[in-house]
Each structure stands twice: as C-alpha cells, then as structure tokens.
C-alpha cells in the first residue's frame, strides 16, 4: 500500500536531512520525496510517498511529528487530494518519427519544450499512471533521458493539509 504524506516543515537548515535520515535510520522506504517552499517563506512542504501497511505509515507519521522542525503531517487519501508529477522525457526523434511523437504528445496534453535534429524533449504533468503510459508509448522510439519530480499533492476543496 502506498500513502502520500504532506509534511509541513520549518524552512530551516538541515530539515531535509533530518527527514531523510529518519527514514534511513528507522528502516522505512520512501518512494518519492518532493520539497519546495510554500506561500509562507518560513515554511516548506514536503510530499512523501511511502510504501507500507497502515501500521508502518502510522509509525512514519508519528516519528516525523516528533521532529521539532516538523509542523504538521497529513496522510492524504487518494480520493480527497489532487496528485501530480512532472516529467521531462528526451526521446530520439528524426523527421520520420517526429509526426508520430507529436501525435502522442497531443493526446496526452503534454508539451514539446525542445526540438533538436535527433531528439525532442517532452514535458508532461499528471498522475503516475499517465506518466507511465506516455513513457511506455515513447519507449519504442528510444528514451535517451528521463527525469521525474516525484509526487506533489494537495487536498481538494477548502480543507488544508
């Protein structure tokens, strides 16, 4: 089972390593971790994707909450939240394959952000499945490089996390 945790932390020196260190030392697995400041420059938001049963996730949340710099931990249920990832994919492409790739990009509402004579860089946002799907379709052309941000998420509606 995978859980998405929203972790609000003080935007201070060393916070990321405190959080990452906690995972290492307690033997928890992080699938992805995305960090950035929030609307309040003193506060950062980390979005963590953790794998484990409810017991593990409960322990992860409690241990995170113990860190002095952690302000709040929320377990985001998939239904109540919007989740996104961004990927940049550099695909091999020449004039013979370009049209076909552009078609795929259109279908996925992705964007082409760079074109060179032998490759294209595609920017795609969406949930994990969408990114996996476009990756699969692009694979036969030859993916030269790929980078993903890791998941970010917010709760829907007026509730905050």
């Amino acid at each position: 089972m995978r859980h998405t945790l929203a972790v609000l932390v003080e935007n201070k020196f060393g916070v990321l390593s405190r959080v990452a260190g906690l995972f290492a030392r307690r033997g928890y697995n992080i699938d992805s971790l995305a960090v950035g400041v929030t609307e309040d420059p003193n506060v950062s938001r980390m979005t963590l994707v953790v794998r484990g049963d409810d017991h593990v996730v409960e322990q992860v949340s409690k241990q995170l909450n113990k860190l002095i710099d952690v302000i709040r931990v929320t377990d985001l249920g998939a239904d109540e939240s919007v989740e996104r990832e961004l990927a940049l994919i550099k695909v091999k492409s020449d004039k013979d394959t370009r049209a076909e790739i552009i078609q795929i990009v259109d279908i996925f509402r992705a964007r082409i952000v760079d074109v060179a004579s032998k490759s294209i860089i595609i920017e795609v946002t969406g949930d994990e499945e969408k990114i996996a799907a476009i990756e699969k379709l692009l694979k036969p052309f030859g993916i030269k490089e790929l980078v993903r941000t890791g998941r970010i998420a917010l709760t829907r509606g007026s509730k905050s996390s």
Binding site: E10, F13, G14, R18, L22, K62, Q63, K66, I68, R72
Partner: protein
Amino acid sequence: MSENTRKMTGARAIIECLYEENVEVIFGYPGGALLQIYDEIYKSDLRHILVRHEQAAAHAAEGYARATGKVGVCLATSGPGATNLVTGIANAYMDSIPMVALTGQVPRSMIGNDAFQEANITGITMPITKHNYLVQDAKDLPRIIKEAFHIASTGRPGPVLIDLPKDITTEEIEFSYPDKVDLKGYKPTYKGNLQQVKRAASAIEKAHRPLIYAGGGILGSNASEELLQFAEHIQTPVTTTLTGIGGFPTQHPLYIGMPGMHGTKYANYAIQECDLLIAVGARFDDRVTGKLASFASNAKILHIDIDPAEISKNIKVDIPIVGDAKNILSSLNKYVNPVEHETRKEWLDRIEGWKKSYPLHYVGEQDGLKPQYIIEQVYEACKDAIIVTEVGQHQMWAAQYYKFSQPRSFITSGGLGTMGYGYPAAIGAKVGKPDRVVFNIAGDGSFQMNSQEIATAVQNDIPVIVAIMNNGYLGMVRQWQELFFEKRYSHTCIRDSVDFVKLAQAYGAVGIRVEKTSEVKPALEKAMDSGKPVIIDFIVECEENVSPMVPAGAPINEILDLERKE
C-alpha cells in the same frame, strides 16, 4: 525585555544563558574552539568539572540529570572533542534523559572545508539527539539556548546539542534572554484525554488480574508518589523496568521486581497471566518483552506515555493515553473507584505463591566471594545510597539485590547498554547529590573503559565509591558463551590485566582489595568513612551467572535457572 539588553560577546552570552537556566555545573574539556568560552568560565561563578575524556563529560552530565532531575550540561571542543561525546549523547537519547551538549566548531567561514578539528557534529548526532542546532548567527544564541533547555526537559526528555562556531563566541551581540519559546512544531501533550482516562478507568475496574508495568518515564515525570497511590488504590502489583527501578519502593508488598531477560520469574509469570497490562512510561523494549508475539498475550494493553510514537510501536495497544505520567496517574486515582484487597485476593495470592516458590536466590558463599552477597552488603552498609552501574552481570545483580526506597537512586544505562557509563555517571550523581553516598557497582571490564576518571574524582574531590565485581571476565559475554557457545570463551578473559588497588593509588585515590567474605563489611565501612574517592576490588567467583535468564527472543515465561552449584 529591551530595557535590560546589554552588549557582550557570544561567549559571555552563553554564560549568561546558562545562569538564566539555573545551571550550576558543567562537565567539560577545553580545546581551541572553546578558548573564548573557557575564558568566560574562568571569570564566572559556574562550577566546571574538568573530566579526562569527553565521553565522561556526557555521562557525568547525564548522571547528574538522573540524580537531580535537572538538565545536565556538558561541553566539548570541536572535532574529536565533539565526537567523543557521541556515545554519551546516544546513551541519554535511548534513556530519555534531559541533557544539553555544547560543542565548539570551527569558524563559520571554514565549515565544510575539512578544517583542522572540524567534524559535522550536527550531522553525526541527528539520529541520537532530540534536536540539534548549528548556531549561524550570534544574535540567535539566547533564543537557541532557551529552546534547547526547553526541548531537552519537556515532553519526552532527551539530549539537545548546540554547535558553536568559534567566531560566534567573539562576536558582540545585544543580549536579552527571551522569556518564552515559540516552536510551531513542538507542543507536547501533558494532560491525558479525559475520554481515554475514563475508558482506562472502566477497564481497570473490570480487570481481574491487572498488572502495572512501569518504566523510566515514572522517574522522568517525577510520578513515583502518584504511582504508589495508584497501585495501592487499585491493589495491583507493580513491575518496574531496569530504568524504572526506584520508581516504586522495592520492599513494598505489591512490588514484584523487574521483568524480562533477567527479571524475576514472578514478574514474568504475572505478565503472561495478567488480563490487563497497565504500561506507564515504558516502551516495551525487547529485553523486557522477549518474543513479542507471546508477550502478555492474555491481556488488554493500556499504555500511558508522553510520546505518541511509542503507542503501538512494538505492541498493539488497546487503550492509549498520551500525556505526562504524573498527570495521568493522578487523574486515574480520581476516576477509578478504589479496589479492596479482598477483590484482588485470588490474583495477589497467586503472585505471592510464585514469589515464595521462585525467589531470587544464589548459592551461598562457601567457596568464592559472591557478587550477589556483596550487593546485599552494600545495601546493609548504606540503605540509602545512589547506586550507579556499568553494564554487564554486575548491573543485573545490582538491579536484583539492592533495595530501593527512593526514586532517582538507581542510575544505569538501560537502552544503549554502555560499558564505561557508570563511573562518570556516578561522579555526576555525586556532584548533584553531595549528601548521598554514591556507589558505582562495576565490572572489571567496564571500569577499564573510563577508569581515567579517577583523576577527575580526585582532583575535584568527589568521593564516589567504586565496587568492582572483579571476575576476570567480560562476564556477561562469557555467560552467553558458556550457555550458547559450549564454553568457547573467545576473547572474554581479562584476568590479571591490571592491579586496581595500585591504579587507585597511582591517582591518589584509596584502593582496597577484598578476597574473602569476612572482609566485605569492613572494606565497605572503611570506604564510606574515608570521604575520598575509593576503588574496592572485590575478587569474586569468576564463573558466577546471572539468574534467572530468558534466552534472547524466547517467550518470557521460558526461564532458565542458572545458579552455580558448588
């Protein structure tokens, strides 16, 4: 606040902050990064105890904290000084002891350059501190020190480290000490949720065979009196963990000793048979629970702890109450109807029966000198001593055979199990409680890990008595080798490696050797009368075992009897 700001250097500000926190003593060791601070200490009224190894500074600060309930403070220079504190900090972390560790650091401009005597101590200690700081601006010193003492001593106590770059100590600041801390992410819960307290009360009233399992949290929250009232109020037996010893009077009829690996048989049987286990400030350590799946398997678990992360960490809890033990026990005393002794008679009689059938015992002293006998004699010689231990067999014997009537009288390394802990911790305890007799019950192996601190005791006139149970072995390891490795004593024999009497004398302490049972009492009396640091070298039977014993990972009611027959 602003009317009494004063200009001063960072180093001076640190001293002022320590005054504000009512710090009386720091245990430390100087070095280049601390020159400014040591100069201010020289000019100040602070008591500074110069140790001989920084590890001892951390242990001493901790022993002081355990004996007094105050925050212990230690100080070490950058690089090797700071890394030498690490074991002591980890020890304090595992046993939740309030401590502030101050370390020197290279100047800010040199951080990260592998400068001389640089170590990334905040990085190193992240997993073993409750929190730590690298001071990056001298202006932050008062706030950070205020926060550090607050964090160390509130909620679940623990060590906090503050790393002090050298140039911060020379910089001038406008000093004013904040009167509040404001930490968005740190708001410990003290009061138990009333709904949960009521649920607990009803579970207690319904239970037929309840048992209280109390840990170091009782001492951390000064809840001994409330615990005593609670146990009597509900006529329920009490077992205390190694670090909880002294939290409940050990001579009380409801006391059933320590649980777990070297616990009493009756405590272990009681855990397995109870129908409600009331855990208070205890964390279900594996040395207590043995095989988890069969631990207290007939019982509902009620867990009272200040740290929410302890709830259901190891054992699934049925009724959790998060909050301070003292607080929650006193509300339970209000919400639970008193229970008559008669109501519990069957259960208490059963436990009494086990107590009679399986008392702690050892085979008399015909041949050699028995360590258990020595511990009993230490008790006879001084019934009100603070007992500090190292780690090993002697530690277990001290836990089993000394009798404690007051809290904060048994000081031992529980969670980390640190050999070399006892002597410096005893020094710290004696500094904090100069009117109490302080014994360090030691093993010959453990004592050698920090025996250089005899110099500290002598120079600072700290009359701690060390009672070495000298069995010529790393006894506890030898015991495991005997039991599980067919007596292949691989590298556990340390016989004749040092003459402890001469060692004591070399440092200017009193050294006494005891080889016969008849010499035990006179030696203890002489030690107590001397008013000096004393080392007593008790040459004890070399292959004595700690009994009973539950093999690691076995259910706690599968207990071996190991007393050696002559």
